[in-house]
């Protein structure tokens, strides 16, 4: 029986982010190409190539999403955020042609999450980014569903290799549905097994004994 003693907080997806979601914390570390729009006195040490004590206005640097979001202010012009290349027009055209050929793990792995978070920064391209991200999901859905519902008792690493993190979690949900059903069909769901908590506890005890 599928019971979980701990329910992890899911990622927010879209423009929201969940404070306690591990996925969203990892997403917030993703690097964005930025340009300073003001000088940052005495913060030169943060920037490797800089030899002066200040970060000059107009310096190009990479910043994690959390920092860019914190510094960004559409009125005060502190930093300008550039689009990572996978969200630029060239790649949007590729996605428009056939999103199924793209390796979203390599290009991501938080393609949908980061694409949505980028919308926090004003850009005339935002509507197109939002549209591409949505359409990419819509058009990749069938393959995620089919592969997750067909793969039974086989190595799935090749199937998930090119999926972004959110797609992988959907793949896992599809697999869970399939496995639960197959287990039931084979008459295994009525068999009782020790909970993983108990099993782990035993393992830990053994480990302690051996140590």
């Amino acid at each position: 029986m599928a019971t979980q003693s701990y329910t992890p907080v899911p990622p927010g997806v879209g423009m929201e982010d969940n404070f306690l979601s591990l996925d969203d914390i990892l997403l917030s570390q993703e690097k964005l190409p930025c340009r300073t729009e003001t000088a940052f006195p005495r913060l030169g040490f943060l920037e490797k190539s800089g030899d002066t004590g200040d970060i000059q206005e107009g310096t190009k640097m990479e910043m994690p999403l959390w920092l860019a979001k914190g510094l960004y202010d559409s009125k005060r012009r502190v930093v300008a955020v550039d689009l990572p290349k996978v969200y630029r027009e060239g790649w949007r055209t590729v996605f428009g042609a056939d999103p199924n050929v793209v390796d979203l793990h390599k290009m991501g792995p938080y393609y949908y999450g980061l694409g949505s978070q980028l919308l926090h920064f004003d850009s005339p391209e935002n509507p197109d980014i939002a549209q591409t991200v949505l359409q990419t999901f819509v058009r990749r859905f069938r393959r995620i569903m089919d592969s997750s519902q067909n793969a039974y008792n086989e190595d799935t690493s090749a199937l998930v290799e090119k999926l972004d993190c959110m797609e992988r979690s959907l793949f896992r949900s599809g697999q869970a549905g399939l496995h639960d059903f197959q287990r039931w069909e084979k008459g295994q769901s009525s068999q009782m097994t020790a909970s993983s908590l108990v099993q782990n506890y035993r393992k830990r005890k053994f480990a302690e004994l051996e140590a």
Binding site: T7, V9, P10, G12, E16, N18, F19, L20
Partner: protein
Amino acid sequence: VSVMSDVLSEASEGSGDDSQELMTPAELIEKLEEAWLNEKFSPELLENKSEIVECVMEQLTHMEENLQRVKKGDLKASIHRMEIDRIRYVLSSYLRSRLQKIEKYFPHVLKKEKSRADGDPSYLSPEEFAFAKEYMANTETYLKNVALRHMPPNLQTVDFAKCVPEPSLDSFVFLRVKVQQENILVEPETDDQSEYAVDLEVGSQHLMRYRTIAPLVSNGAVQLI
């Protein structure tokens, strides 16, 4: 049956609610199963069904008392025991799915309960309310001990209402219609669609947003499946 009716009539006197009519035990079990499935599939915590839970408990206790007088190995008694086990399963699964939701959404559940007007029905049973408060306090203490007290003074508080996600009422749900509904407005998903109305016929099944039909779940007109 008589025990049941007494309990139910007392309950209805208390709340002054005429909709709570006398039920047969079979109807009571049916209501419990409906509540169980609704709770399992609705994204938010539903109004508690304490009266149903109490009446079912009473039925079970009553039946178990009777069974103690029967000798072991009796066929009839074994049939009764099987039924008791089945009902008990539904009852505990129902209560557990509520506890899971309370754990998942505790700040919002407590906020809703605290902002409730005096006459409104409570979403939580007294036991659940105590559980939610304790869960919140324990989570707070734990976070404080392992992390927050090591943080700079201005970062030592966490606003749970902000960092625990709210139930998503826009989730889709599967449902079966029990009482005919006309003109349920379905909001468009995209700009180039327009809103339209659907009729929900008795026995028909649908996939739509929970938000659209949430009132129909609480008044029993639809059953989540």
